[in-house]
Point group: C2
Chain length 343, copies 2
């Protein structure tokens, strides 16, 4: 179609998309009225509402949330930071977070910090620049500089999957130290006396491992050998780690693994070597991933309510964004040991 010659060319800027202005004109009202019809329908008359609704349908108008966010200083965007998305551990949390936010009309922006911390700064800048209504930190070790910038930004922050005495803002997690202790006591109660650990090399796994070793010592079980594997933890590394552990401590009768995937590797390697689980070797995982209940033998593991963490984080942020004051800012969501055949 030819351009209307009576009209000068449309302003040289802009995306060319339908704007609230267009909708308002079509409906015969002021832009602000059209805005109200969409945001707070109760505040406009039924006729206006009808006309605006029709205009929206006719034009296919989609509000520009960039403009809305700029004007209202509420972006309805929430950023989540994970070390890497392919670590299956946080997936459940990210999924429930995405869903819970979507229900409240918020969108999730995903950032990967990587296991190395070098990208963290650029990532934070990219995140803060979007002026999200909240930031969820998932299992991340942030630098002091990063903490400072987050604090300075004034954006609500939820730290998850850990407990710290000095949270940046809000927090929902559990004690890794308690996990390590509990598993040591559990295995001791089961009559195991020669423990071992296979652990990923991230900070939280490290704390579980140390607490496990300390508790074992306190229980009179002597020193517990640990095999550290580089992140990410995989089935393969679990197999290799068991081989390494048995090479130096062949009488080991129980292994605590820092992830279910490592534990599955340990189970696999044990089977291949003809080591009977649980008779000769007890195996405990961490995470209670979906497969844990259904491998053979079924895996005893530490269950974390990942979805609940995500939901609570969303709740924290939405509450804050809607101006509700959150009472409890720190929530210890706990954990539980799910006993199955592998012990």
């Amino acid at each position: 179609m030819a351009q209307d010659p009576a009209q000068p060319r449309r302003s040289r800027r802009g995306s060319g998309a339908v704007t609230l202005h267009d909708v308002a004109k079509l409906a015969g009202v002021a832009p602000i009225t059209a805005s109200r019809a969409l945001k707070t329908p109760g505040q406009v008359s039924p006729e206006v509402l009808k006309k605006v609704t029709e205009a929206v349908a006719r034009t296919g108008y989609v509000p520009n949330l960039l403009a809305g966010g700029l004007a209202s200083t509420r972006s309805r965007l929430v950023a989540a930071v994970v070390p890497t998305i392919s670590g299956p551990v946080f997936l459940e949390t990210v999924q429930s977070l995405t869903e819970a936010l979507a229900e409240s009309g918020y969108q999730l922006m995903l950032g990967q910090s990587g296991y190395a911390g070098n990208r963290e700064d650029a990532l934070l800048e990219a995140i803060i620049g979007r002026r999200p209504d909240g930031i969820v930190l998932t299992g991340i070790l942030h630098s002091a500089e990063g903490r400072r910038r987050l604090l300075a930004s004034g954006i609500p922050v939820v730290e998850t999957w850990d407990l710290t005495p000095t949270p940046i803002d809000m927090l929902v997690g559990f004690s890794h130290v308690e996990v390590g202790r509990a598993v040591a006591r559990f295995l001791h109660a089961k009559g195991r006396r020669t423990l071992g650990v296979v652990t990923g090399d991230d900070a939280r796994a490290g704390r579980r491992c140390e607490a496990f070793q300390a508790e074992a010592r306190a229980l009179g079980l002597g020193s517990v050998p640990a095999v550290a594997v580089p992140a990410p933890t995989t089935l393969k590394r679990g197999r290799e780690a068991l081989a390494e552990l048995l090479a130096t401590a062949s009488d080991t009768d129980a292994v605590f693994c820092s992830s279910d995937l490592l534990a599955l590797g340990v189970l696999t390697e044990a089977r291949v070597r003809g080591i009977r689980v649980p008779e000769q070797l007890a195996v405990v995982g961490f995470g209670d991933l979906e497969f844990a209940a259904d491998v053979a033998p079924a895996l005893t593991t530490v269950h974390i309510k990942g979805a609940a963490i995500g939901r609570q984080a969303a709740q924290f942020i939405v509450d804050r964004a809607e101006g509700r004051e959150v009472g409890q800012r720190v929530i210890d969501i706990g954990f539980s040991i799910i006993e199955r055949e592998s012990t």
Copy 2:
């Protein structure tokens, strides 16, 4: 500190954050000059660059990308839509997509469409409203209405993990039909004569399954029984499905599973039942997840270059955003059958 009484209260609007205006004032230049110093340092004099850089450091200025996006109609945001993030299949793609985009200064926004299609509309609205510079559709079945809205939005779209004769815009994927055929031929060549299928109930898995069955028939292997399991595919469902399959076709000597997790379930159930793999039963998975190579017996499976898909999708979108015309808009990235012990 007390408010400066000489100054009227700061404007009642705004976030209170440091703006480019503040930086420019501190550096003694106009805002646009400060902007240029940050975006295109080559265009300003060394002195100006120095002063602006210092002002940024002193104030802790972080550019407001909402405002920048609005003014430039380039949001530097890319949306990705996956059915659910916890399906491990697309993880690799999402991860490499996130990384590749981050390298070019783009941020990923994540949306879950769910396996049911009802949320799709609201999701599309939320996405289009942010005016992303691109949208990556991952393994999604979009409604005709959704297609229309995407097309109307004018936002570059990359469809992935599939091939279609009528792509919305750009595409990087492979043929599920060819996968089904290839696996049937592979098993036939291995001397297997009584095939079975365990398949998730999504559309792409369905097409692999049908092509597998058709090819088997063409090879003279008769009709192939299929067990369909609801999404998401899990180890547990794999175990159940093998049980179901054997109940009606106990002489099955090869099973093609629509995911590695299902295949792992089949391997597990076979072991528990004393069925030897591969001697009595061959098992083929799909996805070549990290664990496939290291389970025992190691899993033969269909490998998809998930990371390459993510990188190519990022490339497509960044090229388009930077105004480069992409030559090839449809890329068949292919697949390969990785032969391991399970066949």
